[in-house]
């Protein structure tokens, strides 16, 4: 299988990579571009730690062949973090102790980002629905739900 050149937009910057067919976006991000905020908890689509936004929609990058994102806008957690300080969702996760080992955090933050972009005032049920595909083995989810609610408040007030 010969590699092909793939172009996409990563966090506002055009990138070009060489990849074999069926190489996942996760592998390209982590192992070629060294964007390691996107995690690799299972590579089976079962944990959500690899969630990135594709044109604003949360997707498991471990199931996504990179050739499927040609010309698309990809956002990773690196793209959310401002040059100085934290994004309000990050602040909310930090201040509400919605992080323990931190391995689920990038994926969680990306799904919350997608949720709040399309629904700035989600209900508790809508937050649960949004994070239901993301595993957190440490927190029991409640701190993450609280952080999402707090993030919504911060964004709406800000």
């Amino acid at each position: 299988m010969t590699s092909k050149i793939v172009n996409f937009n990563l966090n506002g910057r055009d990138v070009e990579v060489m990849a074999k067919p069926l190489t996942t976006l996760q592998t390209v991000l982590r192992e070629q571009l060294h964007y390691t905020a996107t995690k690799a908890g299972c590579k089976q689509g079962g944990c959500g730690s690899c969630t990135v936004l594709v044109n604003g929609e949360p997707m498991a990058s471990c199931l996504l062949p990179v050739e499927d994102v040609v010309g698309q806008q990809i956002t990773t957690l690196e793209g959310l973090t401002p040059a100085e300080g934290l994004h309000p969702i990050q602040e909310a996760f930090f201040e509400n102790y919605a992080i323990q080992c931190g391995y689920c955090s990038p994926g969680m933050i990306m799904v919350i980002k997608a949720l709040l972009d399309r629904n700035p005032q989600p209900t508790r049920e809508e937050i649960i629905e949004a994070i239901a595909g993301n595993l957190c083995r440490c927190t029991g989810y409640e701190p993450i739900i609280e952080a999402a609610q707090d993030a919504a408040r911060r964004l709406n007030d800000g």
Binding site: T36, A37, C101, I109, R137, C138
Partner: protein
Amino acid sequence: MTESEKKLNVVGKSVPRRDGVGHVTGKTVYVDDITFPDMLYLKMVRSPVHHARIKGLDFSAAEEVPGFVRALTHQDVPKNIYTILCLIGVGPDEEPVLAEDKVLYKGEPIAAILAETEDAAVEAASRVIPDLEELPAVFDVEEALKPDAPILKEWGTNHFVYEGHHCRRVRLGDVERAFGEADYIVEERYQTSPIEHAPTETTACVAKPEPNGRYTVYTNTQALYFTLDNTALILQLPFNKLHFVGGTVGGAFGGKVDVIVEPIAILGAMKTGRPVKFRYTREEEMRVSSTRSAWRLYYKDGVMKNGQIIARQITSYADSGAYNRHTPYAVTKHAANVAGPYAIPNVWIDAYCVYTNRQPASAMRGFGVTPASFAIEVQMDKIAETIGMDPWEIRFVNAYRNGDIKPHQKIVEDATLIETMQAAAEMVGHGLSDRSLAMNSWDREKV
């Protein structure tokens, strides 16, 4: 109380996490985030069956895979047979880094493949079909102790030997006499399940040869020195050739205290002169990595009409799977706790560490105590029901106090069971008897 304890400035405050900004920005570096340009990947050839004799291994098809670098077998491992608790005097050695003539569980590593890419390593490993003669397997702890069970261990039994005994024993008082005096005898069998730790980050390490002849090992072990020391023994390396770097882990729950990925990755680095990454897939984490052991427990209690438990006899079996890992130690911790936080004058405990043809068990959050707490507390409800007593009251009647003696003859200090139960009752609005409300952990009322 020393002066510094009187007025606390920082202790007791909910200061922000030191690693929090790293976690929310994804800038915290975990082991799998570390790569080196000339790094190789390691994958295991694993046993497809639960118990077998190994008759042969053929690497010729694997060698054809583009990117294949080399294979490692048990002959490459300087001290192939080990047991990690040797550091605290537990023996004998019994687990191979790579299987020699037998495999004792499905998924047991037989050979390691090093390749230029992970895909190539997976492909090459899949092409090594070991020639196996399957043997009868045993999965039940009590079956494993029967005379006709297939024997898994060189020393001729399927249980760990505790200083000449079949099991860890605890003896206090005289249970037989007390059973004779008891108003009720309450018996039950309990069973727990093997459970996967399922940390979101899988077990991984990167071993990198350094120009000064040392090896830097990036690892997510829960115990850096414990792993380093065991690794040096397995590889017969001077301890100062190893430099372990870690301290940041994506969840563990006890699943990252076995010494599994580091020795073989370093060996790969020694044999190739290149950095080697060995990371478990999620499937390996579930099917091959250690689990919480399953336990079977038999309780027999002698109870008086007033609720007092005067005798408790327990036989429990930890399913260690195929190898020791941490289970012999868990059984001892279990034995010290399996009678519960209760003051019982006559206790008899036999706790077994049993080997079966299952993926090895090891440490997990609650190490030997979780199954004990489960069985004790279901048994307390059963006793309450048998004698017609309120489940809260039965626990207060028997609660241990400071100064009491535990079955393993340790004097209780720092007991606060009574206060904790009182707080829980208040929280849910459950009315307690005057006697239970008046109790505390420091004075035993004079009856």
